[in-house]
Amino acid sequence: MEANLKRAKSGDLKVSVHRMEIERIRYVLSSYLRCRLVKIEKFFPHVLEKEKSRAEGEPSILSPEEFAFAKEYMANTETYLKNVALKHMPPNLQKVSLLKSVPKPNLDSFVFLRVLERQENILVEPETDEQREYTIDLEQGSQHLIRYRTIAPLVASGAVQLI
């Protein structure tokens, strides 16, 4: 795109429209990247743990740069904690397990979703003891509010979309 811009010696309007579009695309891409980086920073030990434990054939959930970022972030946090606090502690307390101390992502939180492919018989678990569990059908194009855990596999397969 940017090469095209340089080639177009013609006047202002076409160039500025292309430039606007480039800016828009850049904004969307960078906000996507920002979102992923925030997630990495928030849950870094769990992300790295998942990456380590995935099977050989499965695609990675992080790009190579993101993986390097996560590893560096972990190393930096460990060094920081060590230098600021841990090395002044008595010797048997000098380890901290980041995996246990950093909060895990909450898979039970409620999310809004839109259905892309019709699904049948999704089990809705009861919230209180008096309620029974029941099943619902998800019509295509409808929107719902439900706990993430019940629909997690559908998000992964692309049948529903979080909004």
């Binding site: 409620f110 809004f112 919230e127 719902h144 439900i146």
Partner: protein, 180 residues
């Protein structure tokens, strides 16, 4: 929130080029002076600000239609389908930048605001009953993204907290105390 929307725009004589090609949306044009052409909203607003065009409002943005929509919204208890999933954003943008191209702009503003208020009030009521009866699931068809986002974050956080309080009622469970 980034949205992709389409609108209608006729071009005036200042344009010399007949076609555009956008990366994500394909071809635009041809742009001939005086003839209407459909472009994405961001481009339409930009061209309007540079005084190169006039904007034509979408066909639902007219007093009679909006009155009908408002009446129907007030009658029903559930949410009625809206003419466009982005009606609020479109109204705001068009009325801010192109109110001279829209007949009876002030009335339209009031009508859309009334409809919005009714819908948001319904949303508040239903969120309240959802929380009180501790439902596990809600169907929210016909709600636009803008409305969902007004209460969305607060509602999901409140529901998460409540769920946490409920599931931690049994003491001595092996749940991690640090689950966030």
């Amino acid at each position: 929130m980034e949205v992709w929307m389409n609108d209608e725009v006729p071009e005036r004589s200042l344009l010399r080029y007949s076609r555009f090609q956008l990366i994500l949306q394909g071809d635009l044009g041809p742009f001939n002076p005086g003839l209407p052409v459909e472009v994405p909203v961001w481009l339409a607003i930009n061209l309007k600000q540079r005084q190169k065009c006039r904007l034509i409002p979408p066909e639902w943005m007219d007093v009679a239609k909006l009155e009908e929509i408002r009446e129907q919204e007030r009658k029903e208890d559930t949410f009625t389908p809206m003419p466009s999933p982005y009606y609020m954003e479109l109204t705001k943008l068009l009325l801010n930048y192109a109110s001279d191209n829209i007949p009876k702009a002030d009335e339209i503003r009031t009508l859309v605001k009334d409809t919005w208020d009714t819908r948001v009030a319904k949303l508040r009521l239903s969120a309240d009953s959802f929380v009180q009866q501790q439902e596990a699931h809600a169907k929210l068809d016909n709600l636009t993204l803008m409305e969902i986002n007004t209460t969305g974050t607060f509602l999901t956080q409140a529901l998460d907290r409540m769920y946490k309080l409920r599931t931690n009622l049994q003491p001595g469970e092996s749940s991690h105390s640090q689950d966030f």
